[in-house]
Symmetry: C2
Subunit: 330 residues, 2 copies
């Protein structure tokens, strides 16, 4: 296993300490229980947004803690759900008089542990479950669809709404709405290696890809021969659009997400394939995001995410944000 | 070869078109000759900063075109120098009454082609050569030291100075100064695959690394067995500090750069190793940057860069910037 590591058992804590030091102007890192929280407290009452999940998807979620997005993130071990004491401690740290909203990707372990945390905390709380992956209905770690790269779009937009002083119900409803407007699907060219396992999660032959892969390397729809970027794009977007059923001239956010091991050059090429195809279908890309935002360690491959935009979603997407991995207008 | 690609010959142009569409608020993309330029013209006379080099290092350089950084970037084919007509066309596009400053990484092909461009253009021009890599003196493509991840620090800081209306000489001298204050060194765990070659540039066995690797996968000092992150950090930073000879309590910018195929989690772990070691040596990390900024396609590995800070460099590092891959305070 070729990784920058001292001892496998300490990867998460050493990485979190480095993360905290590198961004000491934006976040605090707490260890045992592990959570990342906003350094600068909000200057008015607001709903506190807390997300989390297995590590290995960085910058999701810790990279999105800060003004205009998350109040806290709870990282589990690599590809493992965080434990309820993490969410409990984070809730107590970032509660700001308007309740707690959990944003949880739809994996059985995460759902269970966030539910336990919801029972443990004294503050009013609600949960938005993100399930944007149209690849498979149930899968290895999931009942129902998986939550993938659309999660950060949900986090950005609710984060913005929460800054306006919106109520817990308003934030919860808006999060559900953005999730409903969002769909994703991806493809893997290689596996990743979970440090504690020390070997690749799965094997693909030299000309194969996993179509509809999950962000932990879990199986998608099928294995097949690699196709051209245009053909892949068509197949992925057909599935996404079948789910979203956009109107003619629908304005959308198009997000091309890299899984960690694919060069930016290819991700922009993929964006071009997607934009071109959507234009032909009279779907108008008015917002875009290209890069490694929801990764699977060093897995090669990527995904498309589309969010159907309305005035509210656009405004909350465009609003200022100040996190370590997403920052604008501030 | 597993890549998102339609035809190998079109990778660069399709990627550039996608890049232009994804960031149409910040940049324009010109094809044949290929260059990326700032969308919004400066509102006062300023020195125009133009960089460029082989593609495959994204976001360097195109991702750093915009307010507060570059005026234009000229991408060559993957790992190949851009041709002089690209720099000539870019110069004519972005000239803004105060001369042209080329920022060039020290590779023979780049140096030669930027020199030819300098002769071709009618505007006053100067060149800053970046040679921050302390790994080797001469190498495969270089006479003298190579220019690597420190280049973006030179680009950010001169970019800021140029926005103040500084003269061509002032920008040139400041760029040389920042380059002198900056040193880098890296290590590779895997090769990358240049699309036109279709196979890995070099082979490393399962427990080997290339110590002091170049950003095209060219050889460094030696091949050796992989070491712990702490041991690697010590060896790399010893070399960097021997070059920079910092004073006691020297304030520095510490940049951990990923080559494209290494997870963010490991890069933050590496940052922690570096920060801890520098603290022991009474060197104070007051600015930090962690992420994939100067990549080698999907190569696994990373590098450390240290810039010794003075008041000028800090101010020009902190100032507002608005590019597709580096953005703050705007």
């Amino acid at each position: 296993m070729k990784k920058f590591v001292n001892e496998v058992d300490n990867i998460l804590s050493e990485s979190l300490i480095g993360f905290g030091k590198a961004h000491s102007d934006i976040i605090n890192v707490n260890l045992s229980p592990d959570f990342v929280s906003r350094k600068n407290k909000p200057n008015k009452d607001k709903v506190s947004l807390i997300s989390g999940g297995g590590s290995g998807h960085e910058p999701l979620h810790g990279g999105f803690v800060g003004y205009g997005m998350l109040d806290a993130a709870c990282p589990g071990q690599v590809f493992s759900a965080p434990t309820p004491d993490q969410m409990e401690a984070a809730s107590n740290e970032v509660y700001h008089n308007k309740g707690i909203l959990f944003i949880v990707k739809n994996y059985s372990g995460d759902i269970m542990n966030f539910e336990m945390a919801a029972d443990m905390i004294d503050h009013a709380n609600q949960t938005v479950i993100v399930n944007d992956d149209v690849a498979v209905e149930d899968s290895t770690y999931t009942t129902g669809r998986r939550g993938v790269a659309g999660t950060m779009i949900v986090e950005k937009t609710i984060g913005s709404l929460a800054e306006t002083g919106a109520s817990l119900d308003e934030c919860k409803n808006f999060g559900d709405h953005v999730n409903n407007m969002t769909a994703s699907m991806g493809v893997a060219f290689s596996s990743c290696t979970v440090p504690a396992a020390g070997k690749p999660t799965f094997e693909l032959s030299a000309d194969e890809m996993e179509f509809g892969v999950g962000i932990h390397g879990e199986p998608g729809r099928r294995r097949e021969k690699i196709k051209s970027a245009n053909d892949l794009t068509k197949e992925i977007l057909d599935n996404i659009l079948e789910d979203l059923k956009p109107n003619n001239n629908q304005e959308v956010l198009l997000h091309v997400n890299g899984f960690g091991g694919t060069p930016l050059m290819e991700l922009y090429l993929l964006f071009e394939c997607g934009q071109k195809l959507l234009e032909k279908k009279n779907i108008v890309v008015t917002r875009s995001l290209v890069g490694n935002y929801t990764t699977s360690l060093e897995m090669a491959g990527g995904s498309f995410t589309i969010t159907k935009l309305d005035e509210n979603i656009v405004n909350h997407w465009d609003s200022p944000v100040h996190t370590s991995s997403l920052r604008w207008k501030i």
